[in-house]
Amino acid sequence: MNVKNYVRLEFSSLPENVSFARSCVGAFASQLDCTLEDIEEIKLVVSEAVSNSIIHGYNNDPSQTIEVVVSILENNSLEIIIKDYGRGIENIDQAMEPTYSSDPSRMGLGFTFMRSFMDEMDVVSEPGKGTSVRLLRCFPSQDHRAMA
């Protein structure tokens, strides 16, 4: 699918940048024909993915880098890729189980939110090399909705 527009962000793995990332992606997504509720859901999944990279990928090491690429595709869908170069996930199936968390103070709902609020989620991870999360959300155009 061809890309109509994209933004690429690269930032330090600092907690301050979680809200920066979700606000940027939310503002970019507002170019699409979507509701405020859609934007809130997109901001939530970005917050979860970036938090995962900081906490689990980098073990809160602020000197590391997180990349976010957000694209509007030709079919009016929004693709978000969040990538870190941290320790990776040993067992992706286990990490995706609802309420699983390696940190007992957290609820382990990050991947559950991502899977529930997005149409597609792909996670590629290699221990010691990092994790890439690809999220896709489709927004039917007004014309398509009128015909439905």
Partner: protein, 112 residues
């Protein structure tokens, strides 16, 4: 946006009025501030007022569930009040409302 929290204690009830966005940036400090008051006062009821919270993610949910465990371990009670529709949606989705009752206002908690 940084989070702000105002604390008010009436007898054995601690009311925490939180404003801002509840994500990983602010939850550690907020956790320490709440726990300090829970530990140093004889609190048996904790009311988290989220009326002015504009965003919550799983870090914020973790803060709430952690306080639920702490207060419950001391046979206390915890309530959430005033969540906006967008915050309430996340609370309901997580199922946290099965453990921590949601009320519209602080008055509703008192009257119930």
């Amino acid at each position: 946006m940084q989070v702000k929290a105002d604390f008010k204690q009436v007898r054995n009830t601690l009311v925490v009025r939180i404003s801002g966005e509840l994500d990983m940036l602010v939850t550690d400090q907020l956790r320490q501030e709440i726990d300090y008051r829970l530990d140093s006062n004889s609190i048996n009821t904790l009311v988290l007022n989220l009326e002015k919270v504009s965003f919550i993610d799983s870090s914020g949910l973790g803060l709430i569930i952690g306080r639920y465990k702490k207060v419950s371990a001391q046979q206390g009670r915890i309530y959430i009040v005033g969540a906006s529709p967008s915050v309430e949606k996340i609370l309901l989705f997580s199922g946290i409302n099965k453990l921590v009752p949601l009320y519209r206002s602080e008055k509703d908690v008192v009257s119930n």
